[in-house]
């Protein structure tokens, strides 16, 4: 009874470490124009609802949703903000279209991280103000704790985490939109300064500026549009405990639960047999390994081994973060999940340029909302 939903247009601007000549509105406008041209839609005529993902503190503006409509062509239209990751935004558009009340919905996410003078202090403001903040934890410190627990429980090694960085930043060399491409070795990664042992500074994604806009449509609308549809087979999202004190540190329970929800909608249980391409959260290198296990591609402790053996390389059994991931593209704040989904869409459409993989049918994107959260989302797509 609910119609299928497709991503029918994508557009992005960036990604660059700094964009001093552009405002977030200009970045978003550029991405929106590309996405609308890609989908063959006029936002004033064809798009019925708009969704932005944003957080006030990242923007330096209270009630930031005030500033979302103009640059998207969304003035005097049904528009709302989700304080979530880009994949939460996609899931929202997916739900809106499935209600039958909307045929075409746009989703936007952006990062102007270079504008934030005090990013470490901002992210630390997400900690519990009573129990945790008096301890003055840096966000990387909490990630270091989590990495330590992950290595301890699974037997994964620092070398394996470093291998993730080597792979993703090499992949980024083939992605013209990725600013952090580099040809490095495991030793180069491990030789960097320590952020919070065992987490090294070269295992943490740097930030980038950019914006991503996607246009989604119901099946009947998608059939009439110019763009190549990429179908959403399933969407899942989950929030585990926000408290640092009572969550599982070694496992990404939120990713496991999100995946189960998305797989159930998509009608499969073993992703390894179905999914051809994976873009997962790699804000920190160990998160990629943790995510691959939570998503069911590897058993606990095996993702690192597989990475060292090259199984997650573009020519491996499960290509992971062919785009370069956040380590190669840069972390895009709330738009990070949309960057993961963007690569899946481009690959499934056969438009990924020199990094294009062959024979793809099903792709998966996964996101995490960052320290100190234990929440994220998963979207499964097919061409």
């Amino acid at each position: 009874m609910n119609e299928r939903v497709a991503i029918v247009g994508v557009g992005w601007s960036g990604f660059r470490p700094v964009t001093p000549e552009l405002s977030y509105k200009e970045l978003t406008y550029a991405a929106a124009v590309r996405a609308y041209a890609d989908a063959g839609v006029d936002p004033r005529r064809d798009i019925e609802s708009f969704v932005t993902v944003a957080e006030d503190f990242n923007e330096g503006t209270s009630i930031f949703d005030e500033y979302t409509p103009d640059q998207l062509g969304a003035v005097l239209k049904p528009m709302h903000t989700i304080t979530g990751d880009g994949l939460h935004g996609l899931a929202t558009a997916y739900m809106l279209i499935r209600t039958g009340q909307f045929n075409v919905v746009a989703v936007e996410g952006h990062s102007k991280a270079s504008n934030i003078l005090t990013l470490p202090e901002i992210t630390a403001y997400a900690q519990d103000p009573v129990i945790n903040r008096p301890l003055r934890f840096n966000s990387h410190f909490i990630a270091g704790l989590e990495m330590n627990r992950y290595l301890y429980e699974t037997g994964a090694t620092q070398d394996q985490c470093a291998a993730v960085v080597v792979k993703n930043r090499r992949n980024a060399l083939t992605n013209p939109s990725a600013p952090y491409g580099a040809d490095l070795t495991v030793d180069d990664i491990l030789a960097g300064p320590v952020l919070s042992w065992p987490l090294g500074s070269r295992q943490a994604a740097d930030h980038a500026d950019g914006a991503i806009v996607m246009v989604l449509a119901s099946e009947s609308a998608a059939r009439q549009l110019a763009g190549t549809p990429v179908w959403i087979l399933g969407a899942g999202w989950c929030s585990d405990s926000p408290a640092l004190e009572n969550r599982e540190w070694a496992q990404a329970v939120y990713a496991r639960q999100s995946a189960r929800m998305a797989y159930r909608q998509a009608g499969f249980s073993n992703p390894k047999q179905v999914v051809d391409l994976v873009e997962v959260d790699d804000t920190y290198a160990y998160k990629e390994l943790q995510a691959l296990e939570a998503l069911g591609f590897y058993r606990s402790g095996e993702a690192g081994i597989a990475t060292e053996e090259g199984a997650t390389q573009p020519d491996g059994e499960i290509p992971v973060n062919v785009s370069g991931g956040s380590l190669g593209i840069g972390h895009l704040l709330d738009a990070t999940g949309l960057a993961r989904a963007l690569e899946v869409v481009l690959q499934l459409r056969g438009e990924a340029g020199s990094r294009q993989l062959d024979g793809l049918e099903v792709g998966l994107a996964q996101s995490w909302r960052g320290v100190p959260t234990a929440s994220g989302a998963v979207i499964v797509m097919s061409n």
Binding site: T81, T83, Y125
Partner: protein
């Protein structure tokens, strides 16, 4: 249409108070618990959770939705927080509606919370950074000033007096005297009291404005087949609408909220309503200021432009009038913990339409009600129509 029907099956709210002893998380849980108990459900029955809360600056927590998630009952559940400024309280039930109408879920807990008292020295300061950082913030405007501009424009355009507007505050604060959760109910308040209260930013006097408050409200939504198992008195969500205008509020016609009209038209279309003045029995428009209730009745097409004050003067909008408006007591009387205040209006319609509103009950067994909220830079309208 073949769309899934969605019902409200439970509701609960905390007292709205000046300064709650509870943390924001505890307020969320208290409201959620009351809503669950009202429908004899437990968290095991809830498939997904939606949260509404206004700016992160109030709680001083980045990604406040994440921080509040366990208080709202979202532990290991699909959970999202939606956000349209002051319109959030009536948007978050719309968010719950699309979760269920999408077919992905059968039950949804919707929680709205606001704790404004922890902001020091005054919650107003959280709004200093809502203005455009380049063009407006250097002028140091605050919310009271821009709403005073809007009120003045409304009065000037239609020749409306401060007395006309003060009657709304009197009606709502008197109505709130019957609400057990109300902060500012007063059965004896008069128009003179409002006019003689301190001027904050002319033409806005202290009693023209709703109070800064703490509180939380929760409702439970269910798909049709589940709702009928939970209660024999489900209240259906018949129409929803929302609309966001440009951020450039200085270019806007401040006398008429066109974005509210567009949101209302969307909701009326969905509910199949052609003559809203005949088909809506109870109205809970957003009334953070008394003039806003009038402004919104006009935007909702329930009064002609500039004519809403006459409805109030004629008693049409009294609880026993032809079109009761804010029988709850509204934000002016019950209080204005921003997102929670919007959802309070949905809870009020739920109780009114089920005949469970106690001393506040509107006579004549109302069949259909409308709740509306407004926010951002005089910019967003959110509308929900509910019926039994």
């Amino acid at each position: 249409m073949g769309m899934r029907k969605v019902a409200v099956v439970g509701a609960g709210m905390t007292k709205f108070v000046r300064r709650a002893q509870e943390t924001a998380k505890e307020l969320c849980w208290e409201a959620a618990r009351l809503a669950l108990d009202s429908s004899e459900l437990t968290m095991d029955d809830i498939e997904t959770v939606c949260l509404g809360t206004a700016p992160d600056a109030f709680d001083g927590v980045h990604m406040n939705g994440e921080y509040l998630s366990d208080g709202a009952g979202a532990w290991r559940k699909p959970y999202m927080r939606s956000y349209v400024g002051g319109g959030t309280g009536v948007f978050v039930p719309i968010q719950g509606w699309y979760h269920i109408a999408s077919g992905l879920f059968d039950t949804c807990l919707v929680v709205a919370e606001e704790k404004m008292s922890s902001y020091y020295p005054h919650a107003q300061a959280a709004f200093l950074t809502i203005f455009d950082h380049t063009t407006e913030r250097p002028l140091k405007p605050n919310l009271l000033w821009i709403f005073a501009l809007e009120m003045n424009r409304y009065m000037h355009t239609y020749g409306i007096s401060k007395e006309d507007i003060a009657r709304v505050a009197v009606k709502n604060k008197r109505n709130a005297a019957d609400h057990p959760s109300a902060l500012l109910g007063d059965p004896n308040i008069t128009v003179e009291d409002v006019l003689n209260s301190e001027v904050l930013a002319w033409p806005v006097n202290r009693f023209d404005v709703s109070p800064v408050s703490d509180g939380a409200v929760a409702i439970i939504l269910a798909a049709e087949h589940v709702a009928k198992r939970i209660t024999d008195k489900p209240v259906w969500i018949e129409g929803v609408g929302w609309n966001l205008d440009t951020a450039h509020w200085t270019n806007r016609d401040l006398a008429y909220p066109r974005y509210v009209e567009y949101a209302a038209r969307m909701a009326y279309d969905m509910a199949g309503i052609r003559e809203p003045r005949k088909e809506i029995n109870i109205v809970e428009p957003y009334d953070p200021f008394d003039y806003k209730e009038l402004h919104h009745l006009e935007g909702l097409l329930l009064a002609d432009r500039g004519k809403a004050p006459q409805l109030v003067a004629d008693g049409v909008t009294n609880r026993d009038g032809d079109m009761p408006v804010c029988p709850s007591g509204g934000l002016l009387g019950v209080g204005n913990p921003i997102a929670a205040a919007g959802l309070m209006k949905i809870a009020e319609l739920f109780w009114q339409l089920r005949g469970e509103a106690g001393k506040r009950q509107v006579p004549g067994q109302p069949k259909r009600g409308l709740a509306q909220a407004w926010g951002d830079l005089m910019q967003v309208g959110t509308v929900v129509i509910m019926g039994r």
